[in-house]
């Protein structure tokens, strides 16, 4: 177990040296100290940003590391979000039950991904058609949830409410010694931050070890990977489930954070956003994805306050420019430039 920590560093992540980890430590300390200097609204906002990063990391794992472009992140986001709503409302959940609802919601989206993934991957649907099927699934789910307006559309006491969305679900609560702690505001911020750190470090270990080696082999040349004795389809399915389940984590957290979920999160243009974040950041690297997504979310919100249209125009522009000119991603490109400079400085110093 401890030996897997060695895989925190490895060929599939860009920052591996002491310089990187020192910078990382500084960032973590700053993130932990953040609530001390800012008011609860800003902290809740920061938590909101962090919530989306799970979906981006999941897409990076699927697309950047394994070469599977899924347009379905928001479908699994929505599936988990609505599942959290349905389960927590029907259980009238408090305390540990909310955590159970959360876990089950993520499991639902993982199961959904397993079924859809099996259907496609073992049906030899790949490349652009995989993207088309996941795109169609997302749109179909959004359309379906949008027409659930009538009172007959419900599971138990949880009504779907069509375009208006489902509300009234409880926030997450952590069972604690003095009584359950509401995961809101600053407490939620810390909970999400710690979870994100755990997921990020866990993914680093995953991609730098044997599993990650096979993933990049599949990305580079799936036939060659199979000819080395790997059951490529099993790895693709596993990655698709993990990556989509991470979108589910985002979805369930989002729903618990705002006590609200609507079909709009699964429709256009929302469905495009994870792809834009990950493409722009540098899908082939977890750290680039994490940092780039956070930056884009910050920028997007700043622009949306002024004009949502301009924010989306910028997103479209970033996507276009990235695909045409900087396919490896801007943040990743910047990171590589930094590494080059560091190497040159070190060579000169030595």
């Amino acid at each position: 177990m401890l030996s897997s920590l060695r895989h925190l560093n490895g060929p599939q992540t860009m920052g591996n040296g002491p310089a990187f980890w020192s910078g990382f430590a500084v960032l973590v300390v700053a993130a932990l100290a953040y609530p001390l200097g800012f008011d609860p609204y800003d902290v809740g906002n920061a938590a909101y940003f962090l919530i989306w990063v799970f979906a981006a990391l999941g897409l990076s794992l699927m697309w950047g590391y394994t070469g599977i472009l899924s347009f379905g992140q928001m479908a699994f986001f929505g599936a988990a979000g609505y599942s959290y709503g349905v389960i927590s409302i029907n259980l009238d959940a408090t305390g540990g039950l909310t955590l159970l609802s959360f876990a089950t919601a993520v499991a639902v989206s993982a199961l959904f991904a397993a079924v859809l993934g099996y259907f496609m991957i073992y049906g030899r649907v790949g490349g652009v058609y995989f993207g088309i099927v996941t795109f169609a699934t997302t749109l179909a789910l959004a359309a379906f949830m949008g027409q659930t307006a009538g009172p007959e559309w419900r599971i138990g006491s949880a009504r779907f409410n069509g375009f208006n969305g489902m509300g009234g679900m409880p926030p997450l609560e952590l069972p604690w010694f003095g009584g359950p702690v509401l995961l809101e505001g600053t407490v939620l911020y810390y909970a999400v931050l710690l979870l994100l750190l755990a997921v990020y470090l866990g993914l680093r270990v995953l991609v730098n070890g044997r599993f990650g080696n096979v993933l990049v082999a599949i990305r580079e040349d799936p036939l060659r990977a199979e000819l080395l004795g790997y059951d490529v389809r099993r790895y693709q399915l596993a990655v698709f489930v993990i990556g989509s389940a991470l979108a589910g984590v985002s979805g369930a957290l989002y729903t618990a954070w705002g006590q609200f979920i609507t079909p709009a999160t699964m429709g256009l243009p929302s469905a495009a956003l994870p792809i834009i974040w990950v493409a722009f950041s540098g899908r082939g690297d977890l750290t680039a994805t994490l940092l780039g997504t956070f930056m884009l979310l910050l920028g997007f919100q700043a622009l949306t306050v002024y004009s949502q249209q301009y924010a989306l125009i910028l997103m479209g522009l970033l996507l276009l420019v990235t695909v045409l000119f900087v396919p490896a991603g801007f943040v990743a490109g910047f990171g590589r430039w930094l590494q080059g400079r560091a190497r040159r400085l070190a060579a000169r110093g030595a």
């Binding site: 080696n213 580079e220 040349d221 199979e226 000819l227 080395l228």
Partner: protein, 240 residues
């Protein structure tokens, strides 16, 4: 001698086009078997049927007596076949050492990999290029890297599709020496080849394909001196 790899009654059709007809072929354990024939004879198709990337229209493929006709390529590799396809396909964007690691890690725990990596790098004379990207190697070196990756799984049988394509005569000769060395240690080898010098250097048994059928079979001397074989290559009788 028991056949290591055998095909029985193999047919392959693509729509109306018959590429292979009624092919029977047995490769004995410890043999170096060369598969030759003019362009379009069906060698690549037969190779792919043995590997599992194609399914036969009719017939069977057997490995160590087991019917593997329905088995996918990775399952055949897990049973002890190791494959190098015609198109060079090492992982070009990854370093040489990582290419070998990916090949080795299926069989070995991570701690034992470096030793085998070093051994293979030495065997392939790529020790100095360990951290270079595979795509930056010369064509011949990439072919060798792929052979190295095929060896990583300690296979029972090596299947090579045109391993010397694009190599200089000297590289071809060294590849032949490598194949002979491996065979001396017990490796069964099937090679699809065009290069007659290479075939003469290594082949013990030869099968000639022509228009999708087995045209001639025998040891290397018999085939080389067979006038019918010369004829299908040259299109006219070849008087010595």
């Amino acid at each position: 001698m028991d056949a290591m790899l055998e095909v029985r009654g193999l047919h392959k059709r693509f729509g109306g086009l018959r590429v292979l007809e009624d092919v029977d072929l047995a490769i004995g354990a410890g043999e170096i078997h060369c598969l030759i024939g003019p362009n379009g004879a069906g060698k690549s198709t037969l190779f792919k049927l043995m590997v599992g990337t194609y399914e036969p229209s009719q017939g069977q493929v057997l490995f160590l007596g087991e019917d593997i006709t329905a088995r996918r390529p990775y399952e055949r590799v897990m049973r002890g076949m190791s494959i190098k396809m015609q198109v060079p396909s090492a992982f070009r964007e990854l370093p040489v050492a990582q290419n070998l690691q990916i090949a080795l890690q299926r069989r070995l725990p991570i701690s034992e990999i470096p030793a085998d990596q070093a051994r293979l790098l030495a065997l392939l004379d790529l020790g100095r290029q360990a951290e270079a990207l595979a795509g930056d190697l010369s064509h011949g070196q990439q072919q060798w890297l792929e052979i190295g990756m095929a060896l990583a799984s300690s296979p029972k049988m090596l299947l090579l599709d045109e391993p010397t394509a694009g190599m200089s005569p000297e590289e071809t000769f060294r590849t032949g020496e490598l194949v002979q060395r491996l065979n001396a240690e017990g490796m069964t080898v099937l090679v699809v080849e065009h290069d007659m010098a290479f075939i003469r250097q290594v082949a013990q048994k030869v099968t000639v394909l022509h228009f999708g059928r087995v045209f001639a079979q025998g040891n290397i001397d018999q085939i080389v001196s067979d006038p019918r074989v010369a004829e299908i290559y040259l299109g006219k009788s070849h008087g010595e």
